[in-house]
Amino acid sequence: MLKVVNSFLVLGLLVSAWFVYSQEHSIRKGEREIIKAKRLIKKEREDIRLLDAEWSLLSRPERLQKLAEKHLKMAPVAADQFVEVKQLAAKLPEKPLFNPASSNTDPIARMLKELDR
């Protein structure tokens, strides 16, 4: 009787020892992965901050105004350039500014065509 109990106990000990070991092993592995992931997250966050700051630097109104004045024929929107959606139909130019049928005058269609090539 006692022998059976003892052998069960020894077996139990072996099984639980193996279980504990394997658990520990997988936890160690998990921990390593977490640390790695945390480091990656931290790095990504730093990168995002850097990119945010860089975006803010590149898109600052002062720079955009200078570039627009230099390269574009644009001006701040005047009050009479605002059109309500209801009046949009009445404001359309009589002749379309480009003829969609002939692709030569439509800059976007030309770009698409070049992409296809």
């Binding site: 901050r49 803010s56 109104p61 002062e62 009050a79 009479d80």
Partner: protein
């Protein structure tokens, strides 16, 4: 007693002893197990996140963003390059590789630094960009290392410098919102910056960086054109008390805080106090309406200068007749306004100004708020001069705040530089004047823009239904009011049928220039500048222009003229 009995007694004794030992062991194991459970599970549950010891002495700071999330200030990790000369194998190769990434480095200096084999540490270049670091890292030069440092950057440069403030080398906020954040507690500030926290939020300002730039650009142009000493402006949301834009020129670059030490670069909106002059007349009008001593049909005698004791009060644009209330406003009559204040009485006048918060130091988030300069004794003459904005000096922010109350239906709100929703603003304010008084003030403001001294602003910001009051205050120079040193102000709101924003604009000592016919009063400089600002910012703030056919014709003519010039 038989042998049999003796034996069984011994056996029972032995069994009992065995049980005792067993119980002892069980108890021991239970204690150990219990302790294990306590240590690993209970404590573990509450101590999941243990703070890692930071290798940086510098506390992190949160980003500062504008109301649309545009980054205005941020902490950036930058690498600095250093070398350990004792570990460098081939100096010539090292120099060649380093200068391939940094062509600006002086080869001779570099060689001298690296040749000292006894040294273990020499700086080569501070604050290099991540791209440069990666390039150098890929070259794999032995004996070259990086050290990570954190620096505070302000990607928008000078924009909103007076609101943002700046930090010192140890990353402590010394001015502006940066200081405000530190005053909330360093740990609070650091917790805002901790990206691991779910609630980690940047410090969000009420400021709109596009509006800020538009106003700053126009004021800078005006300061240059009118040869003014300085210029300042503020735009406030009338429903929330948020400061959407605050400009004070000359300003400084937060990256070079030394510039901020210049006395001329003070923040004129909150750390300077000024006699705002005629724009304060709006407050006197509201007070007289509110006290019930006046309605829009009342008349005031402005035939002769008002004599108080030995002093004589004159009108700048003297009409020498009896004026109606709108006429007093349009001609900015000192005599008429003074009579209103006298009708309300000395006590009533002081009570109203106190209620409007003009006698107290106004503290918003920005540090260094200035206290008002008030007359020591309040007599009849004090009331008369205070009625048209002389004899007491307040922060321009205080002035703008009162105008906000006069425009939004009568609620005086605490101004804020941080983003605040309309719901959050509800309940914060106190009633200063009635809705009826506010409506009358709106009428007078709009009338002044269509027929009075603010016509130029309305012409430049056509369609945005601007209204306002001008002020030309003579500055005190050597203890006397000087005719040549003026502080010109415009305060207004738009759109007048349901005001959303209040704008206050100041030019310090603008001069008469070609095109102003020798005049240097507010209507010739501060007013058109404000008009230009509103024409630029109103579309950004979502105000839809409304134009009559006559307006459209005028605008079309203007476009034609511009096209001809080009």
């Amino acid at each position: 007693m038989s042998d049999q009995q003796k034996w069984s007694d011994g056996r029972i004794k032995g069994q009992n002893r065995l049980r005792l030992v067993l119980m002892g062991f069980t108890l021991c194991f239970m204690v150990i197990t219990g302790r294990l459970v306590q240590l690993s599970i209970v404590n573990g549950m509450f101590k999941v996140e243990q703070k890692q010891a930071s290798h940086e002495s510098r506390l992190p700071r949160p980003d500062i963003v504008d109301r649309n999330g545009v980054v205005l200030a941020s902490d950036l990790k930058v690498a600095s390059l250093y070398a350990n000369p004792s570990k460098i194998i081939d100096i010539d190769e090292a120099i060649e590789l380093i200068t391939s990434v940094f062509p600006s480095l002086d080869v001779a200096v570099l060689r001298k630094r690296l040749s000292n084999r006894k040294k273990k540490f020499v700086w080569l270049k501070r604050e290099i960009s991540p791209a440069q670091r990666d390039a150098l890292y890929d070259l794999g030069v032995p004996g070259i290392y990086f050290r990570n440092e954190t620096v505070r950057v302000y990607p928008n440069g000078r924009l909103a410098a007076h609101v943002l403030g700046y930090v010192d080398v140890d990353s402590r906020g010394l001015a502006g919102i940066e200081k405000y954040l530190d005053d909330q507690g360093a740990l609070y500030t650091a917790s805002l910056a901790d990206p691991a926290r779910q609630a980690a939020l940047p410090a969000q300002l009420a400021l709109d960086s596009r509006v800020e730039f538009a106003m700053s650009d126009e004021i800078a142009k005006a300061v240059e054109h009118f040869k003014a000493k300085a210029g300042a402006g503020i735009v406030m949301n009338v429903h929330t008390g948020e400061v959407v834009s605050m400009v004070s020129l000359p300003d400084f670059d937060p990256a070079y805080p030394k510039e901020a030490q210049n006395k001329r670069a003070i923040n004129r909106i909150t750390t300077g106090v000024y006699e705002l002059g005629s724009v304060i007349k709006a407050v006197t009008f509201a007070m007289a309406f509110e006290a019930g001593v006046m309605n829009l049909k009342s008349r005031y005698d402005a035939r002769a200068p008002l004599v108080i004791g030995r002093a004589k009060i004159h009108d700048f644009h003297a009409q020498r007749r009896i004026l109606t209330v709108p006429e007093v406003f349009l001609h900015s009559s000192n005599i008429g306004t003074a009579r209103m204040a006298l009708d309300v009485g000395l006590e009533g006048h002081q009570d109203f100004l106190r209620k409007a918060g003009m006698f107290d130091k106004l503290k918003a988030e920005l540090p260094g708020a200035a206290a008002p300069i008030l007359p020591r004794k309040w007599g009849k003459l004090t009331t008369v001069t205070a009625a048209f904005g002389h004899g007491f000096a307040i922060q321009p922010l205080q002035g703008a705040r009162v105008i906000v109350a006069l425009m939004n239906g009568g609620i005086l709100l605490p101004p804020t530089f941080l983003k605040r929703g309309r719901e959050a603003a509800e309940g914060l304010g106190t009633r200063l004047v009635s809705k009826d008084t506010s409506d009358k003030m709106r009428y007078l403001f709009r009338l002044n823009a269509t027929e009075g001294t603010a016509r130029k602003a309305d012409g430049l910001a056509m369609g945005y239904r601007l209204g306002g009051k001008t002020g030309t205050a003579e500055k005190v120079v050597n203890g006397r009011y000087s005719k040549d040193h003026r502080l010109n102000t415009f305060v207004g709101a738009f759109p007048m049928e349901d005001p959303q924003y209040v704008i206050l604009l100041m030019l310090d000592e603008p001069k008469a220039v070609p095109g102003t016919f020798g005049y240097a009063t507010s209507g010739w400089n501060a007013v058109p500048t404000a008009g230009k600002v509103v024409a630029r910012i109103a579309p950004l703030l979502g105000i839809m222009p409304k134009l009559s056919d006559a307006d459209r014709a005028k605008l079309a003519k203007k476009h034609m003229k511009k096209a001809e010039v080009h």
